[in-house]
Symmetry: C2
Subunit: 216 residues, 2 copies
DNA sequence: ACTTGTGAACTGCTTCACAGCT
DNA sequence: AGCTGTGAAGCAGTTCACAAGT
């Protein structure tokens, strides 16, 4: 859905799969297994092995025929492609249950995504601190802090009615990428990208398949 | 990624879009606008209008040429297709920050997805109640309660190490559909479906595009 | 012997463009 | 006049199958 990002060297599905390849690679690395074949990697991620080779071939040849791919270099290379080999500063807007849970989530931090600021419009919440130590600021401070803290990605976890407004605030503060959890389609300027996460779409998918998969 | 559900009448992207069409339709319905054109619906969802018509044509002709689609019947029809015209009982396993946030999320309830049981293995949490009134049970009670409460979908929000075990417990309790938030690939029997949600994949997408979109 | 890298075939989704209705 | 429904064309991503390399 509207992932039609303009001029990207890699096809969108490839980018997504690269992120998935990362997981088994990290496990292999930790386990001290030095080499992995496209076949093995494919099995771990539930895809075709030719697919894996095609994906990896997009950015050079670093497999060894007859052997496979060196786990450490492959992982490093993928991280370079995805720009996960550095830290990213994020902010979150909307500290309800979901927002708080995300801000506290260690999974993000582990991958270099750091929440460095939190915003809400609820006077009840402003000034309070999250368990992780982040202070909740009023949204008015957003433009200022985005610049000061070099925030590059914004995460929206407000109610849907406020999501578009918050997005515009983020854009005008200079943010070019948004991860949106509000179940609404955000309109964005040409140069900016929005990734939507909508759990109920996933549930609707499951519901459809449960109902249809086993009867015919 | 491994959404290769076997014998589905509708193509996977169509099912996902149908879920998205639902949102503007609900807004139109509330606003009392009786009819919508494929063009308008397409604009709201960021897709092509021919796409909308093709998607809707999959299950009969209920547009009116020269006029458009009747909002109320279209919405009702889509809900029937997606089996969202009834309630689904869910359970959640893993009541950390994310699990708790999801269990409390009103967005699910609004669409007919009801959390009717919550499980955790942490003795600290067992016996406590969630703010919404749900009691946290030990995972040992899962098989029993799944049957008693007619739970059809399981949601996993445990740490990744426990996710596969929990999934197997759910499967053997008779559950056929899982929404998995743990960043790990769950292996599932043929007859079951798993939908994975992994936020860091979304962030990696954004990071890649931020880095590559504006330089060339 | 084994596994990569890749042209070619294939599959499936999207978009076009227009005939068909109202 | 306007918008749907749809065959046909176009495009993109996937898989096959095998040559190339170790």
């Amino acid at each position: 859905m509207e992932k039609a990002y303009k001029s990207s060297k890699l096809p969108a599905p490839t980018i997504e799969r690269l992120a998935y390849y990362t997981r088994p690679l990290e496990i292999y690395l930790k386990a001290g297994i030095p080499v992995i074949s496209s076949e093995a990697l494919a099995r771990h991620c539930g895809v075709n092995s030719a697919q894996v080779r095609k994906d990896l071939a997009h950015f050079g040849e670093f497999g060894v025929r007859g052997v496979g791919y060196e786990v450490e270099t492959l992982l490093k290379e993928i991280k370079k492609i995805l720009s996960t080999d550095r830290e990213w500063n994020l902010c979150i807007v909307g500290l309800g249950n979901l927002g708080t849970a995300l801000a506290e989530n260690q999974n993000f931090a582990k991958r270099g995504y750091k929440f460095v600021a939190a915003f809400d419009s609820d006077p009840e919440k402003i000034g309070k601190y999250l368990p992780g130590g982040l202070k909740i600021h009023p949204v008015e401070k957003l433009p200022d802090l985005v610049e000061k803290l070099k925030i590059e990605i914004g995460v929206i976890t407000t109610p849907p009615q406020q999501a578009q407004g918050v997005a515009e605030l983020l854009f005008s503060a200079g943010i070019k990428a948004i991860l949106n959890f509000a179940p609404i389609q955000i309109r964005s300027p040409e140069c900016c990208i929005v990734e939507n996460v909508d759990f109920s779409v996933n549930l609707e998918n499951l519901a459809y398949h449960l109902e249809n998969l086993f009867e015919e």
